[in-house]
Amino acid sequence: MKIVVDTGRCVGAGQCVLTAPSLFDQDDTDGVVVVRDRTPNGAAAEWAREAVRVCPSRALSLHE
């Protein structure tokens, strides 16, 4: 699994960080998503799926 980010769409809602802080962070200045781990495995892969599901701007997608 690979996490793909469209930073142009990101509105900094932070849903991904709340869901999976080990995978996602936010830029301090503009709140835009920063991916900490692009290729999660196991339980973290499930968190990535949940983060994609709750992202309000559809800035996140998965390549599996």
Binding site: G12, L18, P21, Q26, D27, V32, P56, S57, R58
Partner: protein
């Protein structure tokens, strides 16, 4: 607009019980999930009720948030159109203009940044509970806890003197009141706008350690500082930042008291409180009809063609009770894992302060029920006065004892 054959609903519809959506929502969602309704000004608009359709409308560039457009489907008269000098609010912007405005400030509301406020919020909540325990019984929890916690927090964050809270709470309530005279709502808008302009003028010469002062510095650095624009943002954050959370504190407390089995879950294991907060947000969906949009390009949503120029109400409360997405949606189940609710909206305008609201609610519920374990309602639950007359649902009073 197209003719519709059946009898039309007049919006907004009222909640007949504080714990359930207007009964018509279910009927609309089941029978005709996208349908035309009548707005207070007599205009027609679409309502969208299914979770998937609500998320689509709120995250689709063909639906505009421009509340200043003459065709925008307003539920409150006199809400906008504040003279030629008024700056456009971030909630009325679309596309790149909105993204730029939001990114200027969203750094203040990141999950990590807000975590730093946790000890201070805990101290504020503890002070309120100290005062409740030291005072007479019964007590109205709205002025004793629900309003002061978010008001104090947003004041400290923005750098607004808390001594002015009577002024801004009174004017916020007027802005959100349905059915009041439009002139009063406009006067309240103007009073808060003037207040915010004056406050920012002071901070321009005498900055403090607060969001508004940091915004002045940042906007000056970027060459984009305009006092009226920042005043508009401060106004938005102030009104959105205390009234909504206050209503969720009072309703959430009432909801947990009504469902002692659910309260027991978080008392036994506070790590379940964040999940409980999500469920309470879903269950009450206090900002429901406020999520309106104007269609600016023909779009097919859920098999229905919506034409450019038509208004749409994305009914978050109907979506949050959609059985396709939430099993047994009318039950309060703090362990259901309700993160995909749309109580904070969806799309680029999703609530900027959502993590602040979450943290305040988590701390309030954990602290209140731990420190006052015998807390109970001092009136019958059906006698709680509800804000059916306001754009944001809540309780006018919450008398409790212990």
């Amino acid at each position: 607009m197209a003719e519709v054959s059946h009898s039309e609903y007049n919006f907004p519809l009222e909640r007949t019980c504080p714990f359930t959506p207007p009964p018509e929502y279910r009927k609309i969602r089941e029978e005709e999930p996208i349908t035309k309704v009548v707005l207070p000004n007599g205009n027609r608009a679409w309502v969208v009720t299914r979770h998937t359709d609500v998320r689509q409308v709120l995250n689709d560039h063909r639906f505009s948030a421009d509340r200043e457009h003459p065709a925008f489907p307003h539920l409150l008269e006199g809400a906008f159109g504040r003279g030629p000098d008024a700056e456009k609010s971030m909630i009325s912007m679309d596309g790149p203009e909105h993204t730029t405005a939001r990114r200027l400030v969203v750094g203040e509301f990141t999950v990590r940044r807000l975590e730093g406020l946790r000890p201070r919020i805990q101290a504020i909540v503890d002070e309120c509970v100290d005062a409740i325990l030291a005072g007479p019984k019964p007590v109205d929890l709205v002025p004793a806890l629900a309003l002061p916690v978010p008001s104090l927090v947003i004041c400290e964050l923005l750098g607004i003197p808390y001594a002015d809270h009577d002024f801004f709470q009174r004017n916020s309530a007027k802005i959100l009141l349905r059915g009041g005279p439009p002139e009063e709502r406009r006067a309240a808008f103007d009073a808060l706008g003037r207040y915010m302009n004056e406050l920012i003028a002071k901070k321009e010469v005498d900055p403090g350690d607060d969001l508004l002062s940091r915004q002045i510095a940042k906007r000056r650095e970027n060459g984009v500082h305009r006092r009226p624009a920042l005043a508009e943002l401060g106004f938005l954050l102030l009104v959105a930042g205390h009234e909504t959370t206050a209503n969720m504190i009072s309703l959430g407390t009432a909801g947990l008291l009504k469902h002692p089995d659910q309260l027991a879950v978080i008392l036994a294991d506070p790590s379940k409180t964040p999940g409980a907060v999500e469920e309470l947000l879903r269950f009450f969906t206090i900002v429901d009809t406020a999520q309106a949009r104007l269609c600016v390009e023909d779009a097919e949503i859920g098999g229905v063609t919506i034409r450019a120029g038509e208004g749409v109400l994305a009914l978050g409360y109907a979506a949050n009770r959609d059985p396709e997405v939430f099993e047994d949606p009318d039950s309060l189940d703090v362990e259901r894992g309700a993160r995909h609710h749309v109580a904070f909206g969806f799309g680029p305008h999703q609530c900027l302060g959502q993590h602040l609201a979450r943290m305040e609610l988590q701390i309030v519920f954990d602290t209140l029920f731990r420190r006052i374990p015998t807390l109970r309602l001092a009136v019958r639950i059906e006698d709680l006065p509800t804000k059916n007359d306001a754009a944001v649902f809540g309780l006018h009073r919450l008398p409790v004892t212990w």
